[in-house]
C-alpha cells in the first residue's frame, strides 16, 4: 500500500502534517470522498426522504436506498435486513429493548468479559428488568475468550448470546463462525448477537457465512460519518423485534384506536435519520473495499508486529501489553501500561510533545479493566490504512519522553 498517497485522501493531514493518529479504534479518520458526499447531499438534493413528491426528495431517497444496497452487499445480507441507526450503541439497545417481551425470568443471557459497555449494559439491564439470569463468560490469561467456559454457560434456557467480534481493548479476534456453530449445537434457539464495531474496518464480514442472528456496527469506525450505524438482523428475527422508536415513516396506518407498522426495514427506522451520513456511507464502504480486506489485514499485522517489537525492545519489562501475543489472533490495537505512569498522563504528554493521538482510560470497558485485567486504566494505540512505521517510531520516541518526564 502506498501510505503517502493514502494520507493525501484526508484533508486532516493536509491541515496538520505532523499529526500522528493512532486512535482509529475510537474513530477512523474520514477521507475527502466521504465528506464530499456529505456536502453533495446538503448542497445538491437537500430534502427529506420517502415523503416528498419533488425531484430533490426523490434523489435523496434513491441515494439513501443505494446506501442500503451497498451495506447489504457488503455484509452479504438481504436489503430488508439492513436497518440504519445512529450507531452501534443504538443498534444494540434496539435489539435488547426490542426483545424484552420475548424474555422471561427462567431465561438467561450470556455475554463475555471482554465486552465494551455498549454490548454489556443493555443485556445487564434487560436481565434486571426481566429477572433473567445474566451470565458473563470469562477470558483466559492470554486475553482470549474462554470458549469452553462460554459453551458451558449455554443451556436450553439461553435466549441470547451477545459477544464482540474484536475486543476494543485486547484486540482479540473471536472465532464467531466456529462459536456460532458450537452454540447452535447446544441450543439452536439461542439468538447470537455480534458487536462488529471493532471488526468492520479490519476484516470481511459475511453474515450469511457467520450465520449470526443480529450484528451491529458504526460507520464512523469504517471511514464514514459519525451518527450512522447499522443494525443487521435475520428477517425472521427483525420481524419479531418490537420497535422501541415509533413515529413518522415507520407506520402503515394510524387511527386513534391503533397503529399498524410498515414492513421491514422501515418499521425500525422511525423519524428523519442522518440522511447525509447514510448517503455518504456508500462512499466509505467503497473506500474500504478499494484496498481489499486482505491488504488491510496484511498492513495491520505488519504494524502490530513492528509496534510490539519496538515496545518490548525499548522498554523491556517496564511495558505491559494486554491481549494475545499471537498477532494472528489480534486486530489492530495494542493496549499497554508503562511502569506505573498513568495512561492519561502518557496520552497528554504524547499529544503535547509529539502530536501523537492515542487513547487512555478504560475504553468504555470498565468490567474488563477492573475485574479481569486488574488495572485501573490502559493506554491504547490502534492502526488503520493511513498509519506507517514512521508513525510508530514517533510514538516510541514520544513514549521515551513520557518516561523521562514522569520518572
Amino acid at each position: 500500500m502506498d501510505i503517502d498517497a493514502i494520507k493525501r485522501d484526508y484533508d486532516i493531514f493536509t491541515r496538520d502534517e505532523s499529526l500522528i493518529y493512532l486512535d482509529s479504534c475510537a474513530t477512523s479518520l474520514t477521507p475527502r470522498i466521504v465528506t464530499a458526499k456529505l456536502l453533495e447531499y446538503y448542497n445538491s438534493y437537500n430534502a427529506n426522504i420517502a415523503r416528498g413528491a419533488y425531484k430533490a426528495s426523490t434523489k435523496a431517497t434513491e441515494e439513501f436506498e443505494m446506501s442500503r444496497k451497498v451495506v447489504a452487499n457488503f455484509l452479504n445480507a438481504q436489503l430488508e435486513e439492513v436497518v440504519f441507526t445512529s450507531g452501534t450503541t443504538a443498534s444494540l439497545n434496539m435489539i435488547a429493548h426490542g426483545l424484552t417481551s420475548q424474555i422471561s425470568n427462567t431465561d438467561n443471557i450470556v455475554v463475555t468479559a471482554m465486552e465494551h459497555h455498549a454490548n454489556f449494559i443493555p443485556w445487564q439491564q434487560l436481565c434486571e428488568h426481566t429477572h433473567a439470569d445474566f451470565r458473563v463468560a470469562p477470558i483466559t490469561d492470554d486475553g482470549l475468550l474462554d470458549t469452553d467456559q462460554l459453551l458451558e454457560l449455554i443451556d436450553e434456557n439461553t435466549k441470547i448470546l451477545a459477544l464482540t467480534h474484536v475486543s476494543n481493548v485486547l484486540g482479540t479476534i473471536n472465532p464467531i463462525k466456529e462459536l456460532t456453530q458450537k452454540v447452535r449445537a447446544k441450543n439452536q434457539n439461542t439468538l447470537i448477537v455480534v458487536d462488529a464495531a471493532q471488526s468492520v474496518a479490519h476484516m470481511k464480514l459475511d453474515v450469511a457465512d457467520v450465520d449470526c442472528d443480529f450484528l451491529a456496527f458504526s460507520m464512523h469506525k469504517l471511514f464514514g460519518p459519525t451518527g450512522v450505524g447499522v443494525l443487521y438482523g435475520k428477517k425472521e428475527h427483525l420481524e419479531k423485534l418490537t420497535p422501541i422508536f415509533t413515529g413518522g415513516e415507520m407506520i402503515q396506518e394510524v387511527t386513534t384506536a391503533c397503529t399498524t407498522f410498515r414492513e421491514l426495514p422501515h418499521r425500525l427506522e422511525a423519524g428523519t435519520p442522518h440522511i447525509a451520513g447514510v448517503i455518504a456511507s456508500q462512499e466509505a464502504i467503497a473506500y474500504a473495499k478499494s484496498f481489499g480486506f486482505e491488504k488491510i489485514r496484511e498492513h495491520e499485522k505488519e504494524l502490530l508486529t513492528y509496534c510490539t517489537n519496538n515496545l518490548v525492545e525499548n522498554f523491556g519489562d517496564d511495558i505491559k501489553i494486554f491481549g494475545p501475543c499471537d498477532i494472528s489472533l489480534r486486530s489492530g490495537a495494542i493496549s499497554f501500561t508503562l511502569k506505573n505512569h498513568h495512561p492519561h498522563d502518557i496520552a497528554t504528554i504524547l499529544d503535547d510533545k509529539k502530536n501523537v493521538a492515542i487513547r487512555a482510560g478504560q475504553h468504555c470497558a470498565m468490567p474488563l479493566h477492573l475485574e479481569t485485567l486488574k488495572t485501573n486504566a490502559t493506554a491504547r494505540v490502534s492502526f488503520s490504512v493511513y498509519n506507517t512505521k514512521a508513525d510508530i517510531d514517533a510514538f516510541i520516541d514520544g513514549l521515551k519522553k513520557v518516561d523521562e518526564i514522569l520518572s
Binding site: H342, H344, T348, I349, D352, G361, Q362, L370, A377, L406
Partner: protein, 124 residues
C-alpha cells in the same frame, strides 16, 4: 503552557497530606470513570475549621497534584471557604491551562472534598 510543570510533578511524586486520618469527622470516595482515577479523602473538622485532611487514591499526575495542592490550601481554613472553591480557583492553584480533556482530573479532588464536607459526616 506545559501541563507537566516542575511543581505539578513534585506534588505528583511527593503528594502532601497523603494517607488516611485515624479519627476523621468526614470522609468520601469518588472516581472518574473516564480514566479510572479514584480518590478517598478523610477530614477532621473542629468548629467549622479544617483541622486536618488526608487523601489517598490512584490517579494521573494532574488529579494527584491538584488534590495535593488543594489540601495544602484548605488545611487550617474554614469549611465555608473550602466549599466556595471553584473550578477557576483550581486552575489558579495549578497555574496551568487545563483543557476540557483533563479538567475532570483536575477537579476530582476538590469535588470529593466538597462532597465529604457536605454529605460525608461520620456518625459517631
Amino acid at each position: 503552557m506545559d501541563l507537566y510543570q516542575e511543581e505539578i510533578l513534585e506534588h505528583y511524586h511527593h503528594p502532601q497530606n497523603s494517607g488516611k486520618l485515624n479519627n476523621p469527622t468526614h470522609e468520601r470516595c469518588a472516581n472518574n470513570p473516564t480514566c479510572g482515577d479514584k480518590i478517598c479523602v478523610t477530614i477532621d473538622v473542629i468548629n467549622d475549621v479544617i483541622n486536618d485532611i488526608n487523601f489517598e487514591g490512584e490517579g494521573c499526575a494532574i488529579s494527584q497534584a491538584a488534590t495535593s495542592m488543594v489540601t495544602d490550601k484548605i488545611k487550617g481554613d474554614t469549611v465555608e471557604n473550602a466549599l466556595a472553591i471553584t473550578r477557576d480557583d483550581i486552575i489558579d492553584i495549578l497555574g496551568i491551562e487545563v483543557g476540557i480533556g483533563r479538567i475532570r482530573c483536575a477537579l476530582l479532588g476538590i469535588e470529593t472534598i466538597q462532597k465529604a464536607l457536605e454529605y460525608g459526616k461520620i456518625k459517631k
